[in-house]
Structures are given as C-alpha cells and as structure tokens.
C-alpha cells in the first residue's frame, strides 16, 4: 500500500544525522571553505575504529542477521537505500564539502564493498579508499579511459593520468580504472587497488575549486606503477558484453545519493531564506493563491515545492532499490531534477537574500558555490537527461547521441 510517511525508525535515524550535521559540520563549514586543502581534524572522531588483532578462532563465528519474522526483514535492511539518502540530505544540510570528506567513506570503499573478494575486503575494507575514474580526455565518456594496465609476471603495470579524484590526499588507497585490453574497448576496463606510496604513483596536485573546498580533489600520475596481481577488483576476464554495463549499473545506486546532496544544500539555503523572510514580518501560511501574493512569497513557495519534488523523486529511486526493483531510469531522473532544481533554488535564495546572499558573514553564498557540483559530478545534468530519454524510449547510445 502506498504511503510516503516515514516510519519512526527512519525519522529517528534522520534526526541522529541531523544532530551530527548541526553540531559537527555547521560550526566548521566556513573555516574549511577558507582553508582549502587543510584536513578538518574535527572529523577524526568519525574515523572507523582500526580493526583489532584477529580474534581467536572460537570467537570468529560469523554473526547471523536473523529477521524477526519470516516474511519481515528488519527495518534497517528494508530501507538501506532510503536511510542512505535521508542521511546524505541531513549531512549535506550541514555541509556538502565535509560530507564528501567523511573519513573512510570514499567512493572506492563502496566499490570494494560491492565487487571486492573476501581477501580484498579483509585487507583493504577498513582503509579510506578514493576512486579514480575521470581523465583529461574521459569525463562523462568514462568508457574511453586511456589509462592502461599490463600484466607483467605477478604484477599489473599501470600508466596514465587521473583527475578530479575526491579525497586524493586524505585517502590511504585509490581504486583506479584502467584498460587491460584497449582493443576490446570498454569491455577491457577494470579497477585496481593502488596503495599510496607505491612507486610510480604520484599525487600531482590538488585543485582549487569553486565550492566543496573542504573536500580535497586531486590529480594522480601513474608511471610504470606496479601493483600486485591480486589487487585487481573483481574478475580479470574480459567479457565483451556485460562487464562495462555492470560497472555503470553501480551508478544506479550512487545517483540518488548525489541527488540527495543537492537536496540537503538547497534545503539549508531555503530554510535560511525562510528565517529571514519571517524575521521581516511576512508570514508564510500556505493559504493564498499565487496571484494573491507578493512575488517574494510566490518565489518561496515555488522553491519549496521544487524542493519537495526533488526529495520525492529521490525517495522513489531509493525505495525501488530497497525493493530490489531495477531503478536506472528513476535514479537518473532524480539526479537530473535535483542537480538542476537544487542549483536554481540556491541561486534564487541568494537573489532573495540580497547582500546577505553575497557575504561571507553567513553560509548562503557558499551553498550557492557548493551546490553547483551536484549538477556536474556523477554525470552532468545533460548526461542524465540523455540517459532518461534513452531508457524511456529504449534507444541505444548510437541512436540518441
């Protein structure tokens, strides 16, 4: 039965994240916007505890998750993706840059968790892992990565350049995309775990960015960088058909989370704007028709309805993933909508705020810079619209370019 009312458990977990965002992120948001590239040491308390020494065999029994009833999964499992987007919204309401540099929660960690072998998970799972996909000539067209990996004895030899790597400096390991058989095209693309300090693996420089400055973004150069054979994530087999599509499918789960980032930042800006509107004596009471109010009120309601639309499209994509339903279409729809509407909302808030939307004295102008990334990374708004249209009409990438 359809209901969009969150359960108490969900509300509770959302509230916990909100408190963290309010108490830990907000107070230092401006500081690390100004001190770009400085590691926010306040986030150390979020670091996952280092794994203890291996426990004696007797205690090593795997923990079984027992559902309360046969037909009822525990709520934490039923709502994994939904909890994910709710949490991201709250954390990004606190600060998007700081959320992106949440210690130990890199995109590489998600990749290792998703496709890593048991050995890889045991060895690398608890280390902060960045993800290196983008190259100077391979942005949205991630299938055309030029970085190569050649097997030489027991080692892969990697050569190439990777840009826009989130947590480039702070991560301990990096999952690098490279092609092991360029003649096979995108089917040859595999990912490799590269440890910091490996000879031939160099952090070339860190970017100075428009926003999300608390998050360190960098460029790596790989020059005859040798990694052990067993550092290849997943299967080394080059399958012509499914392999790359499989890689791209993992983005079905991450797109709603990026959309939730736009939602969190836009909500922060909208709440701040509402506060200022109400301080000025205007009451927003959700009563009058749009042709019976000032343009300021109308703009506000319009933005609020846009925000709600973003949120519900995100919830739709996440809850489909939780129900085990393929959601590529809905994941791209929510990302397309949220990147665009989120950016527009914050820009408009700054316009409404006037001088308050341009000064460093509050965070509004920062949110306007921060939110812009959500319409760019994990696939630009334009790419999302392409994907949505292709999926809807079952068109190939050759037909709809």
């Amino acid at each position: 039965m359809i209901s969009l009312e969150l359960t108490e458990d969900l509300e509770k977990s959302r509230e916990n994240m909100h408190n963290l965002a309010r108490d830990l992120f907000r107070p230092i948001a401006r500081k690390y916007d100004i001190e770009e590239h400085t590691y926010p040491k306040e986030l150390d308390i979020l670091r996952p505890p280092k794994p203890k020494k291996p426990a004696p065999e007797a205690e090593k029994k795997p923990v079984e998750v027992k559902p309360d009833k046969k037909d009822k999964k525990p709520s934490a499992l039923r709502f994994d993706n939904l909890i994910g987007v709710l949490s991201i919204e709250e954390l990004c309401w606190g600060d998007l840059g700081l959320m992106l540099t949440f210690p130990g929660m890199g995109l590489g960690n998600a990749a290792i968790a998703a496709v890593g072998t048991a050995e890889q998970k045991a060895k690398f799972g608890s280390r902060w892992a960045a993800m290196a996909i983008t190259e100077p000539e391979a942005g949205s067209d991630s299938a055309s990565v030029q970085t190569t990996a050649v097997l030489d004895g027991d080692e892969w030899v990697l050569n190439g350049e990777k840009i826009f790597v989130t947590s480039a400096d702070r991560s301990e390991i990096v999952v690098v995309w490279a092609n092991i058989e360029p003649s096979a095209g995108k089917a040859g693309i595999k990912s490799f775990i590269v440890e910091k300090g490996t000879p031939g693996f160099k952090l070339e420089h860190l970017e100075h960015k428009l926003g999300i400055r608390a998050s360190d973004t960098g460029t790596f150069v790989l020059k005859d960088c040798r990694v052990p054979k067993e550092n290849l994530l997943g299967s080394p087999e080059v399958k012509k058909k499914q392999s790359f599509a499989g890689v791209m499918q993992t983005f079905d789960n991450t797109r709603p989370t990026v959309a939730a980032m736009a939602l969190g930042v836009a909500r922060a800006a909208l709440e701040f704007t509402k506060e200022k509107i109400e301080e000025s004596g205007l009451q927003l009471d959700y009563t009058h028709t749009s042709y019976n109010m000032s343009s300021l009120e109308k703009e506000f309601y319009r933005m609020e309805s846009q925000l709600e639309a973003m949120r519900l499209l995100i919830w739709q994509a996440a809850s489909m993933a939780d129900a085990g339903i393929r959601n590529s279409l809905q994941a791209s729809m929510c990302k397309a909508k949220a990147g665009k509407a989120g950016t527009e909302i914050v820009q408009k808030c700054c316009e409404i705020l006037g001088p308050l939307g341009y000064t460093y004295q509050n965070l509004a102008e920062k949110w306007m810079r921060d939110v812009k990334i959500t319409d760019i990374f994990e696939g630009t708004g334009q790419i999302q619209h392409l994907i949505v249209a292709r999926q809807l009409m079952k068109l190939s990438s050759k037909e709809l370019r």
Binding site: T287, N292, Q306, L312, S319, M333, A389, M393
Partner: protein, 364 residues
C-alpha cells in the same frame, strides 16, 4: 509506513479504471468535446465502479469501506489520463459526498447521502469559484447572513459543473468572516442558474455561472449545522484531487507526444534522435512522476490522519505549474500538427491550464 508499492487492491482498481478509460473515453474524447456532451452511459459505467461511494456506510448507499485518499488519487489520475472533463463528471458527486461524510451531521448524512449515492448516477455539484479578479477560496465575495431563522446567500459563482442538472449544489460562502458550506436544492428560487459557460477547456461538461439573490437556506442545511465545517480540511482534499487530475492530464500529453516523436521522421530519422527533443521528453517524464509523488505525499498524510495543509498546498501549486509546462511541451513536440484538432495535445493544453487556476473541481 513507507512504501511506494501499490496494494493488490490499489493495483486492481487502477487497472480496472485504466481499462474502462481506454475502452470508452480515450478514443471518444475529441467527439465528446465536439458534441459538448459525455454520453450518460459512459458516465454510468464509471459511476458503477463505485469509487465515489466506497466509503459511504452501506445503509446510506455505499460500501462502508475505509477512506483512502491515496487510492482516490490513483483513480483520479487514471480517469483524467483519459479525459479531464470525464474525470470531473464521473466523480462529481464526491464533491458533496466527501464533505458530507467528514463534516455533516448525522441528520444531514441520512437525508442527503442516499439520494446522492443512488445506483443511477445522480449529479450533485460544488459552487466554489467566483468570476472576479483575485479570487481565492479563503476570501470569497459570496456572503451568507443569518436572517429570519435561516441563512440568506448573496453572490456570484462560476465554473459550477452540471449546475443545471444537479439535484443539489454545495455552496461555499463567507459567514461572519469565515468560509462555510451550504447545501442548496436546485429548485431553490434564490439560486439562479445562468447560461452554460464557454471556457477554454473542460468543454465536454456543462459548467454554469450561478447567481444567489437572497437565497434562503434553512439552518439545517449549513454543513455541520451550528458547528460549521472544517473548511481547511475541505480545501486540502480538493487540492489533492486537483493535483491528481493534473498528473493525469500531464501524463496523457507526455505519453502521446513521446510516441509521436518516436515515429515522426525529419531529416531521415526519428526526431527523438535529437537531444533538443529527447531532453524535453526526459523532463516531461520526471515532472509527471514528481507531480504524482507530490499528490501521493499529501494524500498519505491525510490517510495517516495528519495535517496535510502544507503538502496539499505545495502539491496543487506544483501540479498547477508543471501541468502547464508539460502540456505546453506536448503541443511543441508535435509542432504545427500539435496546434490542430487532429491531435489531442491541443485539448490537453486547454484543459491543463485549468489545474493551476480553478479550485475544487474534484476531491479525494
């Protein structure tokens, strides 16, 4: 509770309505508009599904089921996907049934519900909108006054569907500064029903202007009697209803335009191979979903017994704006052909304009 999956029952009723609409509405909508009439048997078939009376107690002519605003929203979207006028006509009595059920006194329910919930479709209607600049439901110029042991109504209403055919009209008017609802029988001499209106959309159902001139109403016909009505709740429900039909009209335009663009060839290939066309289709797709979700969100709140003021307001605002955007895209994608009556998108365009402007044509 959180779930975006329909229950078996919801899925069943949705499919049933979709089948009905496909069978007797979609293909005939243009002709119905041309003749400016929806055949009585078409309406009767929709009425016979019983959705409008499902939550009325059995002894008063209904099925005694639980009230589900979400299910009603699902039904309304399907009906409006077929045709906006049809959706409004087929559910018109709900505009009186729903307020009666939630705010009427026992005596009012016993008196009116059996008449309205008869097996044969018996139109009753709502007079809410007013034909003047700056109209809004919380600030009506139609006024009720206490006089001679009853109420006297004075004022002007417009967009009243089936006013000349309805047995009863539920009239919204300001009483002592507050909006209230009054039940008026059609033969009341103080209620003067004007000529059938000519409007840009909604042309398959007759709508009328009504003049109230010292219209006398007994105390017992004020909804809720002395206690009055919860006008805010009434508005929430009609706003959600309007959002649901906006979603339906938008989806109709979106699907038609998408299929057209897949077939239409220019420069030797389907026009959807062009990003400028494809991006519009993508936008239409997610806006239709967003409208539906906003509608369901507000309906879920009501269903959970929570206040839906904000959610219903935002849903109506959003669907009002986005419906206009989507039906505009629908015409645009068909180009010159979209501008002719040969295709339905021009009708969707005219009908879609009403969602943001008109209040209270339907309810959940």
């Amino acid at each position: 509770m959180f779930s975006l999956e329909m229950s078996k029952e919801q899925k069943m009723i949705k499919d049933e309505v979709a089948k009905l609409v496909k069978g007797i509405v979609t293909e005939n909508a243009a002709e119905m508009e041309e003749k400016r009439e929806i055949p009585a048997e078409t309406v009767q078939k929709a009425w016979a599904l019983g959705a409008s009376v499902s939550m009325v107690p059995e002894k008063l002519g209904g099925f005694g089921m639980d009230d589900s605003p979400v299910t009603t929203a699902i039904i309304l979207e399907e009906l409006a996907f077929g045709d906006l006028s049809f959706a409004i006509l087929a559910t018109l009595p709900s505009l009186v049934i729903s307020p009666l059920l939630t705010m009427g006194t026992e005596a009012q329910k016993n008196k009116y519900l059996p008449i309205i919930c008869a097996e044969k479709f018996n139109p009753s209607t709502l007079a809410l909108n007013e034909p003047h600049f700056g109209f809004e439901p919380v600030n009506m110029k139609t006024v009720a006054e206490k006089k001679n042991g009853g109420y006297h109504l004075n004022g002007l209403k417009c967009f009243v569907p089936m006013a000349a055919q309805a047995s009863h009209v539920l009239v919204a008017a300001t009483l002592e500064g507050k909006p209230e609802l009054f039940l008026v029988a059609r033969d009341n001499p103080g209620m003067i029903i004007g000529e059938r209106e000519e409007n840009t959309g909604l042309r398959s159902i007759p709508t009328y202007e009504i003049t109230f001139k010292g219209c006398e109403i007994p105390l017992t016909d004020r909804l809720g009697e002395a206690a009055g009505c919860d006008f805010e709740m009434f508005l929430q429900k009609t706003r959600i209803g309007m959002s649901a039909i906006g979603t339906g009209v938008s989806r109709a335009s979106f699907e038609f335009a998408m299929n057209y663009a897949k077939d239409r060839k220019q420069f030797g290939e389907p026009i959807v191979y062009r990003q400028s066309v494809a991006f519009i289709i993508a936008e239409m797709a997610y806006e239709v979903d967003a409208m539906r979700l906003m509608t369901w969100k507000a309906a879920s709140r009501l269903e959970a017994g929570k206040d839906a003021k904000r959610a219903a307001y935002l849903a109506k605002l959003y669907t009002g704006e986005q419906t206009m955007r989507v039906v505009d895209y629908g015409v645009q994608l068909l180009g010159g052909h979209g501008y002719t009556k040969e295709y339905p998108v021009e009708r969707f365009y005219r009908n879609g304009r009403g969602i943001g402007i008109i209040e209270g044509l339907t309810t959940v």
